[in-house]
Amino acid sequence: MGYLYRSRRKLAAGILFVLVWLVVQAGWAADYEIDVTNPFLNKIPLAVPLFKPMAGGEGETRLAAKGADLLAASLEFTGYFKLLNRAAFLINPDTYRIVAPGINFQNWTTVGAELLVTGGVLLQGETVTLELRLYDTVQEKLVVGKRYRGRADGYRGMVHRFCNEVIFALTGSHGIFDSRIIFVTSSKAGVKDIYRCAFDGHNPQPVVANEQLNLSPAWSSDGKWIAYTSYAKGKPDLYIKHTTEKRGHQVLKKGTSISPAWVPNRLELAASLSHTGDPEIYLLTGTGKVIRRLTENRGIDVSPSWSPDGRRFAFVSKRSGTPQIYIKDTASGESRRLTYEGKNNTQPSWSPRGDKIAYTAIEKGQINIRVIGVDGSGLRQLTINSGDNESPSWSPDGSLLVFSSTREGPSRIYVMNAFGTDQRRLLTLPGKQSEPQWSSRLGNL
């Protein structure tokens, strides 16, 4: 009897040991994987020391510093990482090694880094060679390493390609570093221009700047076309313009032709047209010809936004008395109301992940961004007590939102994480900026 008792205890101890071992292993394995369901609360500490100039020389040293700063800022932009201060690093920037096994990982774990990116830059004439490596400092192993070689003016693109690799390695989905943001800017009354910039606000460029009132820009999925509303002919007409070649199409019907929204991965778009006397949503070809009507309801129907599979769209309708957001299935033709809180819900933006819709809610004189599940659950408000916040648009991976905010006074373009944290300004131009739209991944690095 006693013998059995002792062996049962050993068995229990044995099982307990195995369980503990499994849990600990799982803990270690999850060390550098990002939980995409709520990743922004526990940012991963990341160290990006200055890149090493491989041959020396002023040009190379400058590129080395620029590259490290750009990579750090770009990864920080995603909201997944906490960038550690270089001043606290224990390494000697002149002599430290950028390739394991030469790396002393304890130097990094001591300052709290769980991830490390090292870089080496070689500049030969106009050609730059850039080596980048992402290390897990705890497991002391290489996660991903790449070498890029090309013209020096493609340097920024190289850094961003590696950033995409980092995000892919850690989350399983591609990063947003090859996406762009299009928006409206106005520095004098009655004139609104359309501009675009990189995902981080870099290099703003005019897209439509013709001394007219231009509104509501929208990118096609392939990034080759922009649709927008313009008063160039004295009334709100819809224009479809190629982004690089000088060609385009126009919808010059009676009434308002507004709020374009391209169908994902197709050269078709939905827009609100009121040529029959009542604003309804129609499906149009990429050349502006009406294919068919999508809504049938007297009263205002406007602002379509497509689901990522292009089968459903969210839109604004006043059919129940106040502007609310509805979802329509194009196959079944059925519409259902999505928003019930508040008397003014507009500007829906369907997340590329398919599960959530961001929109603008006006309640008690305050204008704020809210997010709701496509099934109507999980309503949250993402902005509060920070001026008027409107016009949300998701990043192509559904992890970030771009929107406009008047919290500083004049309307500016802001970015925040999908859960509403890390709200920061994207860029500043003279006058006011508004109506931002985030492109797909354009693959143009």
Binding site: G190, K192, L213, L215, S216, T229, Y231, G234, K235, P236, G255, T256, I258, S259, S272, S274, G277, D278, P279, I300, D301, V302, S303, V316, T322, P323, K343, N344, T346, Q347, T360, I362, G365, I367, E390, S391, S434, E435
Partner: protein, 175 residues
């Protein structure tokens, strides 16, 4: 000729002569005289105000200015016409009946609250409501064009109830 005949000849020559000179004077008036009314109507591009001391013409001018400056107002997020709005439109209809060949553009506007695209659609409906009411009062639809400016052309740049109320309007412009 007999004296009486000469009188007739004289009248025949003089009266048209007088009329002709006054007509010429009328044509020259815009250059030499100040306009009686000097209203600023920002949407009245290209139209010349003619000042005239003739009472009938002055009344005509007052009526025209009222037509241009009296806007139709709307409640927040609404394109319904209340009693006052209908009164304004009745006066517009009267003017349009009197000035049978006038063609107009009805502009629909919104206050800054509400979002850009929704307000473009709302402005469109405000212009359409006004047009439809005028049609029920017998005005030919062909004479009434509409356009929406959404929240893009406020008349008052303030951010308060008073400014917003002024901006929620349908404005009439003579083409």
């Amino acid at each position: 000729m007999r004296k009486s005949r000469w009188i007739y000849v004289a009248l025949l020559l003089v009266v048209p002569g007088l009329l002709l000179t006054t007509a010429c004077a009328k044509k020259k008036a815009p250059k030499s005289m100040e306009p009686v009314q000097s209203e600023q109507t920002t949407t009245d591009a290209g139209d010349v105000q003619t000042g005239d001391l003739d009472e009938a013409a002055r009344q005509k001018e007052l009526a025209r200015n009222l037509f241009l400056n009296e806007d139709v107002y709307f409640a927040y997020d609404s394109y319904a016409l209340d009693g006052e709005a209908q009164g304004v439109l009745k006066r517009k209809a009267e003017w349009l009946q009197t000035n049978g060949d006038a063609m107009v553009l009805i502009e629909g506007h919104c206050d800054e609250r509400g979002t850009v695209e929704y307000n473009l659609a709302l402005g469109d409906r405000r212009a359409a409501s006004s047009k439809n009411f005028l049609i029920t009062l017998g005005i030919d639809a062909v004479r009434l064009a509409t356009v929406s400016y959404g929240e893009e052309r406020p008349v008052d740049m303030g951010s308060n109830e008073e400014a917003w109320a002024k901006n929620r309007r349908a404005k009439f412009v003579i083409k």
